[in-house]
């Protein structure tokens, strides 16, 4: 699974992207966030405020119960501030 991080999530996690082998029990976005939190203090800090974390799977906005699978592009980022 390809993970992408933007804005302060990128800074807190310490990288812009990575490819991870996600365990089989991770089937939804919410479970993915829980698992990422367990990877280290940088992830835990970045994902602490769940309300401030938006998720896109394959470049579409999704909710916490959206399915995720190997090969997906999953992006985590704060609420957008363009325009």
């Amino acid at each position: 699974m390809k993970l992408l991080y933007f804005a302060w999530l990128r800074q807190k996690i310490g990288k812009a992207e990575e490819t991870l082998d996600v365990p089989a029990h991770v089937k939804e976005v919410g479970q993915l966030l829980d698992w990422l939190e367990s990877l280290g203090p940088n992830y835990a800090t970045a994902l602490k405020e769940r309300k401030a974390v938006k998720v896109a799977v394959n470049q579409d906005y999704v909710g916490l119960t959206h399915p995720v699978k190997a090969g997906d592009e999953v992006a985590l980022f704060p609420p957008v501030t363009g325009g």
């Binding site: 992006a75 609420p79 501030t81 363009g82």
Partner: protein, 152 residues
């Protein structure tokens, strides 16, 4: 029906000229230009630059979807969205939204719709240079409210 995401500046006059060129059914062109506002205190001598980050791929996709939604809602002859990213200084142009239609109502309303939706949907993030160092701009709930007001 054009979406461009780029670092370089754009020429508003030339873009608007191009938008309606050759189509004499167009009776009106509406446009919105967003600029970098200087948030440094007046007289402080400081100036607030910013850096715009975005999600290449998703940005273009979302902007095209927003544009398609405007097309569904209004009879539009042409639309244009240009959004810059990278480092920008106060006064720099950030975004251009332009719509063209036979009549002004569709052009004006769809232009407002596009910028309201763009602000809450397109994956851009502003990092402002403040007096205490760089700071990520927080999303405003008033922007969500403006977007929600377009729900029909």
């Amino acid at each position: 029906m054009t979406v461009r995401v780029q670092t370089q500046d754009f020429d508003v006059g030339a873009e608007l000229q191009q938008l309606s060129a050759g189509n004499h059914q167009i009776g009106g062109v509406a446009s919105f230009v967003g600029l970098v506002r200087d948030i440094a205190p007046e007289g402080s001598g400081a100036s607030s630059s910013m850096t715009l980050e975005h999600y290449p791929g998703m940005t273009e996709k979302r902007l095209a979807e927003i544009e398609a939604e405007a097309q569904r809602r209004w009879p539009l002859a042409a639309t244009l969205i240009i959004h810059r990213h990278g480092r920008l200084e106060p006064g720099d142009r950030i975004v251009l939204v332009a719509t063209a239609s036979s009549h002004r109502e569709a052009a004006l309303e769809s232009c407002a719709f596009l910028i309201d939706w763009l602000k809450t949907e397109a994956p851009f993030w502003k990092l402002e240079d403040g007096p205490e160092g760089p700071r990520w701009v927080e999303a405003k709930s008033s922007d969500d409210a403006r977007k929600a007001a377009w729900k029909k």
